[in-house]
């Protein structure tokens, strides 16, 4: 059924994104990039894929400005796609931007708490998380005002409501706020793809559920691992776990009680995938081990898995999930290029192969 009617509204978008996908850098490109001697060479190699966007860069740009320009291209392309979308697809795409909005809001909260110049803050906001009323938030001078304007002005109100009060903004660590919001966001997104009438029973529900479950599990595991040795209590930690995913509920419960790496390993052993990651990474993780130049960290494994999943999504048709996959791939590409140029700029060629090439 979905094949019959999807293209009426979503066909163009899907086509565009598939076109974008073809412009992603391939293994061959990366090979060429790793041979570069200077950032200028990198710029030259990227010219076919990024064209005009890099043209305005000065000779030998810094890696951050390079990454910035690459992000600009992603943003421009995404905005175009968003402008073409209608109905549920548009809603789906908006959901994609919420993640960035959360980061922006967290930034503003931090800035307001420390009474920083908000104009400077706006410059630092991620363009994908930009929404029209964002500058309005800068008017807020104290945290209560900010809280109220967030509730009124932003699409994120639902993520705040019920889990965070304005006192929390003042008292809780910004990272906890950010992760609470993110948890709510993931849950809401998950609910959306599973209940929306346009997506229910379509490939979108199927692949996005899988993807979001993975994302949820990844966050839960990361939060657990990163909270060891910090003031984050187990109860607070548990509140940050999204309430779905392959690990939910048994694994999450075990994670919430975990004190050390072994307990985490035990908790994730429910899922063969994650268990494989932990086995591959070995016990060097968390013990301060550097992972070595060839040894991959858990983070790398997750990224790798994410990329694999994104790649596989392109085998599905009639779903806006390809946009999600494309964005993930594109972001990874930007990270890869940043990494490579960073390695070149800092003369650390031996680590240059440490990126994830998908195609």
């Amino acid at each position: 059924m979905e094949g019959l009617l999807f293209n009426v509204n979503g066909g163009y978008i899907e086509g565009i994104v598939r076109g974008y996908r073809n412009s992603l850098l391939t293994g061959q490109h990366y090979n060429n990039l790793t041979q570069c001697e200077t950032i200028d060479d990198v710029k030259l190699q990227l010219a076919p894929a990024y064209g005009d966007f890099l043209a305005s860069l000065p000779p030998n740009p810094s890696t951050s400005s390079l990454a910035g320009k690459m992000t600009d291209k992603l943003v421009a392309e995404f905005r175009y796609v968003l402008a073409q979308a209608t109905g549920s697809t548009a809603k789906f795409l908006e959901y994609l931007t919420y993640g960035y909005m959360i980061d922006n809001i967290a930034l503003l909260i931090t800035g307001t708490l420390h009474e920083r110049d908000t104009r400077e803050l706006l410059e630092r906001c991620h363009p994908l998380g930009w929404f029209e009323t964002l500058p309005v938030l800068c008017v807020a001078t104290n945290i209560e005002e900010l809280y109220n304007s967030v509730l009124i002005e932003t699409p994120l109100a639902g993520f705040f409501k019920g889990s965070l009060s304005h006192q929390d903004l003042d008292e809780l660590n910004i990272e906890i706020i950010r992760n609470t919001l993110y948890k709510n966001y993931l849950e809401s997104f998950y609910e959306f793809v599973n209940t929306d009438s346009d997506f229910k029973g379509t490939p979108t529900q199927e692949v996005m559920s899988e993807f979001l479950q993975f994302e949820a599990d990844r966050r839960a595991i990361n939060i657990t691992l990163n909270s060891f040795g910090t003031e984050l209590s187990k109860q607070e930690r548990r509140k940050l776990y999204p309430e779905f995913g392959k690990l939910y509920p048994e694994g999450s419960l075990m994670l919430s009680r975990a004190d050390d790496l072994e307990a985490v390993t035990l908790a994730v052993s429910i899922s063969a995938d994650y268990k494989a990651f932990f086995d591959a990474v070995g016990l060097t993780q968390g013990g301060g081990g550097l992972g070595g130049s060839d040894g991959k960290s858990l983070e790398d494994m997750f990224y790798h898995k994410e990329m694999e999943m994104s790649k596989v999504i392109f085998t599905r048709q009639f779903t806006p999930a390809v946009v999600y996959a494309w964005m993930r791939l594109k972001e990874q590409e930007i990270r890869n290029v940043t990494w490579i140029s960073e390695c070149i700029a800092q003369n650390q060629k031996e680590r240059i192969g440490n990126f994830i090439s998908v195609f």
């Binding site: 890696t63 951050s64 980061d103 967290a106 930034l107 931090t110 800035g111 708490l113 420390h114 920083r116 803050l121 630092r124 991620h126 660590n173 910004i174 990272e175 906890i176 950010r178 992760n179 993110y182 966050r219 990361n222 939060i223 691992l225 990163n226 909270s227 040795g229 910090t230 003031e231 984050l232 940050l240 993780q285 968390g286 301060g288 550097l290 960290s297 858990l298 983070e299 972001e331 990270r335 940043t338 990494w339 960073e342 390695c343 800092q346 003369n347 650390q348 680590r351």
Partner: protein
Amino acid sequence: MSGAAGREPVFPTRQSLGLMKSKLKGAEVGHSLLKRKSEALTKRFREITRRIDEAKQKMGRVMQIAAFSLAEVSYAVGGDIGYQVQESAKQARFRVRAKQENVSGVFLPHFESYTEEGINDFGLTGLGKGGQQVQRCRETYARAVETLVELASLQTAFVILDEVIKVVNRRVNAIEHVIIPRTENTIKYINSELDELDREEFYRLKKVSGKKQRDVAAADAELLARREQEAAEAIAQGDTKAKPEEEAPDAPDVLGEQEDTDVIF
């Protein structure tokens, strides 16, 4: 000036000669001590300079590694954490303590780094993503900062030693080229003045004693004449009293000699 600069304004007396002599001795001792101190400091100084050179090269490498670990963080977090880090900084975890080290009487500060336990501003940074990289980056940077602190100690020592060595060398040179020659000149001057006085005194004494001898000789002659006269008279009386009378002319001579030593004093 040249005449006055050559010596100190003292009266050429034996007392000031003694003073000058002890002063010269003191200056020489001080000179050799300071010279040794300066040598010790310079040795230390050269060592520090060499170590600074090394440490600066090392710092280049360490900072590069640290900067690279930050690149790893931005790769893992997938964004910029700079602003957040700046805002969450509250209490310094990494602090330094200054200690003193005594090198040949110069107190060189030595910074010692320590971490204030229990302060952890960034414990939750990268909670959802990249926390391990952040942690690793923190360790790398903490090590880098330790190197920097070490370098800072060396550099402070360098600045202080540089100053102290300059002062010491100035003193050494002052003693060697001004104080010692000047004192020596003074001693020479006092000696020559004293010699002059001696010679004058000697001549005067000679004159005095010559005059005295002449007087004595005249008195003797008179005495002799009288004695001969008496003797001539006594011959008439007898020879017995002549011997004791002969001792008498020696007595003024002894007196003259005593007077001589007195003057020298």
